[in-house]
């Protein structure tokens, strides 16, 4: 039933996707006749020009911020999520705290971040981290909660202590969900770049896009969007590859 995907399929569907997206975009541009939606050709030209310019540096810096945030958020969110999923009594106590703070827009905490962390990269990274931390936490917690109890008792009967359970049951058992949350987190992290990179920086793809927007240079803005899309895409592919490697057993 499940056949191994042919080698070329990946690239081909990428190309087709891009063509479809460009086509839809082109149609939109034609229909709206608004400068806010430039035709794809202009944006592509601008993209190529920008690539020769500083766009790569912007991308690199954003990549750094996104990756550091993602790793930080996962490093805190995954163990905490598993811990809460594993201990429903504690979760019942902590959950209200999460549920009360998660929906609060993090922009309002900006002054606090700025006071505590300054206006440099750190406050940006913490802002992004905080936002995706919740996503990773909730996903991991729910996955750990729903993990079949049989695995746990089976490994406990082998003499596993709490630490062993994390390592041999919860972490691998929740890994598919953790990777899902990393996918979500990645998307969110990139989407909030436009928040984090609007202050005290002249670098980053978020800055690039918002700067183009405020100068109403829509072609350049869409060049930035193209770059962002591609960067996200590459990161996603890497996550997919990671999943293939780490969760072999799911795909049997």
């Amino acid at each position: 039933m499940r056949q191994p995907l042919k080698k070329g399929l990946g690239t081909m569907s990428l190309v087709i996707s891009i063509i479809i997206l460009l086509f839809v975009w082109w149609l939109l541009a034609l229909a709206l006749k608004s400068p806010a939606v430039p035709p794809p050709l202009g944006a592509l030209k601008s993209f190529l020009t920008s690539l020769r310019g500083e766009l790569l540096i912007h991308l690199g810096i954003s990549l750094y911020r996104v990756l550091v945030s993602l790793i930080l958020a996962a490093a805190i969110g995954v163990p905490l999520g598993i811990f809460l999923g594993k201990n429903p009594e504690i979760d019942a106590r902590i959950a209200p705290m999460i549920y009360l703070t998660y929906p609060v827009p993090k922009v309002v905490f900006m002054p606090i971040f700025l006071i505590l962390l300054g206006i440099g990269d750190i406050s940006k990274i913490v802002l992004i981290t905080l936002i995706i931390f919740y996503q990773i936490l909730v996903t991991t917690r729910d996955a750990a909660k729903n993990l079949a109890k049989g695995y746990i008792s089976s490994v406990r009967s082998l003499g596993a202590c709490s630490r062993d359970l994390y390592l041999h049951v919860f972490l691998p058992g929740c890994l598919p969900s953790i990777l899902t949350s990393l996918r979500l987190g990645l998307g969110t992290a990139m989407a909030v770049l436009f928040l984090a990179e609007t202050y005290a920086t002249q670098k980053g793809i978020g800055f690039f896009i918002m700067d183009s927007l405020s100068r109403m240079n829509y072609e350049e803005m869409f060049a930035g969007i193209i770059a962002m899309g591609l960067m996200g895409f590459i990161l996603y592919i890497m996550l997919d590859k990671m999943e293939k490697a780490l969760c072999e057993w799911v795909h049997l």
Partner: protein, 257 residues
């Protein structure tokens, strides 16, 4: 009064779920000496697995007294178990599943490799070491579960229908192998089976459980246990058929009751 290695007194286990209460075990009394092999037989749903899970320390929600070597059951430790549904981790290969217990006990890699390789060899699993459980047949999975328990060299081995998915011959081989191990290490074994021949062949003491909320209805001392040469002989078959009639009689009792 004797000090038993395994001693259960008026054990009662309830499953409670949204209002409904299921009494799985009621007034179970059972004792077994150190180094003995006990076998439990009883109708489906009578509470055998529940009993094993209490002994394994997986279910501490019971009333009554349960002592293993004088102490209440704890998880892990010197008890190993084979769960009815095998309990293999789908994300670990056969090798890693079997190795896990030893790793948790912090054995050296060299030690582990030797022990596991020998055991897999014995159980005919060598060529499957790198596969995941999902890539095995039912019987192969069951053998992995057996390997995982045996490799621990436990003092108490709890087995819940450990050979149910094996063909008759493989089953007999592994029964023999289990006896070999027992001869060597004199561990205490408590085994659940539905196979009366198996019960007679392995069980020095055979516990017959009643249906409904289960309790031990009959305890049979079995002198024939472990005698390979008697398998299929008249004496052996007679023992089997007397057990069978007992079970049947008990059943019809229940029907008329």
């Amino acid at each position: 009064m004797q000090d038993y290695f395994l001693s259960i007194k008026s054990l009662k286990v309830l499953y409670e779920q949204k209002g409904e209460t299921v009494t799985a075990l009621d007034s179970v009394n059972l004792s077994l000496n150190q180094g003995k092999r006990g076998v439990i037989i009883g109708p489906s749903g009578c509470g055998k697995s529940t009993l094993i899970s209490v002994l394994a320390g997986l279910n501490s929600n019971y009333s009554g007294e349960v002592l293993i070597d004088g102490r209440p059951p704890t998880i892990g430790g010197e008890t190993a178990m084979i769960l009815q549904d095998f309990g293999l981790l789908p994300w670990k290969t056969v090798w890693d599943n079997v190795v896990l217990g030893l790793k948790l006990r912090k054995r050296t890699t060299a030690e582990i490799n030797v022990a596991v390789a020998t055991l897999l060899e014995k159980l005919g699993l060598c060529s499957l070491a790198k596969r995941y459980p999902a890539q095995l047949s039912g019987g192969q999975r069951q053998r992995v579960a057996i390997a995982r328990a045996l490799v621990l060299e436990p003092r108490l081995l709890l087995m819940d229908e450990p050979f149910s998915s094996l063909d008759a011959l493989t089953r007999e081989e592994i029964q023999d192998f289990l006896l070999e191990i027992w001869e060597e290490t004199r561990l205490t074994i408590l085994l659940i089976t539905h196979n009366i021949e198996e019960a007679v062949f392995l069980g020095q003491k055979i516990f017959i459980m009643s249906s409904g909320p289960g309790h031990i209805q009959q305890e049979v001392e079995n002198g024939l246990a472990g005698a390979s040469h008697l398998r299929g002989k008249v004496q052996f078959l007679e023992m089997c058929s007397s057990l069978r009639s007992f079970l049947r009689g008990r059943y019809s009792d229940a029907a008329t009751a």
